[in-house]
Symmetry: C2
Subunit: 305 residues, 2 copies
């Protein structure tokens, strides 16, 4: 694989940035990768584990001379960070981000960027329940999807180049518009996360069942929810606040559907339940066939105890 | 490990029965294990894969001479099966089951059993999203919990013996009463399953997001739901119909909590969301420390692609 960018600046050094770094090194995709994090502790950790060719103590230093700047900060502060780096950006530089929400990020970031800068919002659909610089690994994006959301009038050359980077990192790349992205993600990610958080909160709250019972007996299904409900609270707060409309729309449909199933339970309508449960099996098969999950029973946990 | 029972009869040959069989063989826990399934096809499969020492074509044949009968049929037909085998049971025989609901199973089964038969309801908290005789494996119950729910007046010797069997199979055994069992399972299993089914159904139903998008982008969180929503429809229909009260109680609390979070999103109350999401992380840590899940990121899927 040949180098796609001479110098990449990673702004924010959490799970995604650190995984991007290791994947770029694996594929020799960038000449030099600089990194910046607001917290001195995170910068110290990055230096300790060799994350980034050069960890910088200021945003200006990290961004200077970069031909690609990747914003890997929580969605809620994208605009503020874009405002800070704007004066350092020369025409021809590409700015992208990895935020889970796109319309809001575009509204926050675009007004700050000088003319001639290519702003190509992006979103790699990969992550784990762990966060911080130590949690990254080169394989995170392998065979996952990265969605690019170019705004109208973006230079196709610049988009093609960013696509090459993500493909070099291991991802499959797809383009869509921001509004559709936010709806798709509300279904596949944002609503499921909120629902998982809610169920875990309910279990924690229940007086008549102790936390230790919940923990002990979690293998009966509950533990699948707890993985995503252990994800980074800052990131997820920002996702829900910035993808408000689409998330609330999906949650509305969800509660409507849940009420229908509750009524079927109350009325003893076994046929309704059976038909519903039969239909959902097919989706699971599709996901496995599409290579987006393992077919091993129980996610293959049994083999790794 | 020495033999705990001379002859065990497995009634119903799905995931649980077949896993029990392989685990009993692994531990040399039973002299002979007979098996019966209502469907000729299932019996043929069992014979083909060597499941059970002897596959019987009638219930009577399977149960005859057994000192332990294990009902591994859907919860909805436990009573009917108990009625059929009752005439073949001699005093001193133990009857147990593996159903996910206990109060209703006790109400169905107990009236059929002749005096002197030890009825000790049970529930191994283990399973995968696969079903049928081919899906079983000896390790399914290793380090999982098996809950025994002895009714009042049950012979402690008979309970201790059944406990030895489950421990030999690899499980940790705990006793609780039926009502508490049904509430604990409503929280840790039944409500999560219904919620997962619902979310998968909503995704499938959405006009503006295609199924193929849902499938492709499922790694963003959704796919964790699809595993449990792919579980056996008959089993789950029966669970909800027979653990109605506790499931509806938990779902009521869940929707209440979900509405509070939806309101926080609508009102832009980031603090409420952040605090809620922070609290739920601790439960996940507890589950990992209790050995009920892997700490590997993403359930360790990354390593098995």
């Amino acid at each position: 694989m040949s180098q796609v960018y001479d110098r990449v600046a990673l702004i924010g050094l959490g799970l995604i940035a650190s995984s991007m770094y290791w994947a770029m090194k694996r594929g020799n995709l960038a000449g030099e990768v600089t990194g910046y994090a607001r917290s001195a502790e995170t910068r110290a950790t990055a230096r300790e584990i060799g994350l980034c060719d050069r960890v910088c103590d200021t945003l200006a230093e990290a961004v200077e001379g970069a031909d690609l700047v990747v914003l890997c900060v929580p969605v809620g502060v994208m605009g503020a960070v874009a405002g800070e780096i704007a004066p350092m950006l020369s025409p021809g530089v590409t700015v992208t981000d990895v935020g889970s929400v796109k319309a809001d990020v575009i509204a926050q970031v675009a007004p700050h960027l000088p003319e001639g800068v290519h702003f190509i919002p992006g979103h790699p659909l990969a992550g784990t329940e762990h966060s911080g610089p130590r949690s990254g690994f080169a394989e995170l994006f392998d065979n996952r999807w990265c969605l690019l959301v170019p705004v109208e009038g973006t230079d196709p050359e610049a988009v093609a180049r960013l696509r090459r980077l993500w493909e070099g990192i291991g991802a499959n790349v797809e383009e869509m518009d921001a509004e559709h992205h936010d709806l798709v993600l509300a279904v596949t990610s944002h609503a499921p996360h909120l629902i998982a958080y809610t169920m875990v909160g309910v279990a924690d709250d229940l007086r008549r069942v102790t936390d230790s019972e919940v923990v002990k007996y979690s293998a009966a299904g509950f533990r699948d929810f707890t993985r995503i409900a252990a994800s980074d609270p800052t990131m997820w707060r920002d996702v829900f606040l910035t993808n408000k409309e689409a998330t609330l729309e999906i949650l509305g449909r969800f509660t409507e559907e849940l009420f229908a199933l509750q009524r079927a339970i109350r009325q003893g309508d076994g046929e309704h339940l059976f038909d519903y449960f039969t239909r959902t099996r097919a989706i699971r098969r599709g996901i496995i066939e599409a290579g987006q999950d393992t077919a091993a029973p129980d996610f293959g946990r049994a083999g790794r105890k």
